[in-house]
Amino acid sequence: MSDKKAILSPLPGVFYRKPSPEKPDYVQEGDTVKAGDVVGLIEVMKNFYEVKAEEDGVIDQFCVENESIVDVGQEIVSLK
């Protein structure tokens, strides 16, 4: 049960933890997520792409800061 799973960024761009500046974060560390739940956004080429959990789990930690630049395949969230 203790094996960690990663949610990777499918795109290069800017990572956001919230849908818009005045809204709360999608999820917090310790939250339970189901497959398909949105955990953040990647902005690139003026498009916003939703990053979703691919399987059920509990958010262990965010590996990148809000509004930081991420690469393709970079780990964004680890699930436990």
């Binding site: 795109l11 290069p12 761009g13 690139v44 080429m45 003026k46 498009n47 630049i69 690469d71 395949g73």
Partner: protein, 322 residues
Amino acid sequence: MIKVIKPGLQTTVQDKGRIGLYEIGMPPSGAMDKYSFAAANLLVGNHPNAAVLEITYLGPELLFEKGMRISLTGANMPPKINGEPVPMWETLEVKPGDILSFDFVKSGARVYLAVEGGIDVPVIMNSRSTYTLIGIGGYNGRALAAGDVLHTADMKEKDVPVGSRIDEAYIPVFGKAHEIRVVVGLCSYRLTEESKQTFLQTEWTVTPEANRIGYRHRGERLQFVEREQPFGAGSNPSNVTDLGYPIGSIQVPDGVEPIVLLHDAVTGGGYATIATVISSDLNRMGQIKTNEKVRFAAVSLAEALQARRETEEKLMRIAASL
């Protein structure tokens, strides 16, 4: 018929482009990486101007309702048919009901998917290319969306056997740091000598604002020669009396971030252009992603023409091999 299950991030129909309309302010659009575009059409025996799908950063999921030959070139984005990996740069065959999907992109930015006969969308001003800014061309003037249905055209010219493959020597490799050759000129007289050097010596980082319109780069600040503002030019030192922008031309609004204008760019405006990316390196430019590094290398016109001939030569050899 091809049904779009998932569209990817930005998947558009493109051909060689809408050429010859600069005087009305219409940019050419068309495939960003014309080398990979041409190779994709060659692999399915299409006319060189047959329309393909240009897939950017993130692959779509497509359902083929009819059997046909297809090919995938450009960025290394591992493709799968019904979940099984298939090769790129090779003539493939899909059967009715097959689903094409992709893994995350490994290198490069844009994949070209050619289908036997080409993608059929209405021809607008001699081209099927999508120009999303004003919503013309391609599939209803926009990027593909889930549920769209694509038809194939009749631009097939020859039968290329399934399994035909492009020689490894002609398959481009895309890293994360790129050298892009430019011819310095146009309004480069506006830059100080020192800034001309800085422009060529800086390792620039591609920002998230990098798309079919242009690529913006972060690095050093560039300075313009001091002057009295010419009548009609704007007040910023980077302004000029509005002029035409070549495809691949580079401008630096306020000296802050160099922008390479690409195929969907504005056709003119009031910023000094300082150099132009040579035609064969525009192909590579189209395979650069956000966060990657770019260095601009100055070459002469003769060197630009030589590079152009080499690119054409490679495509001729590919054509001869199939």
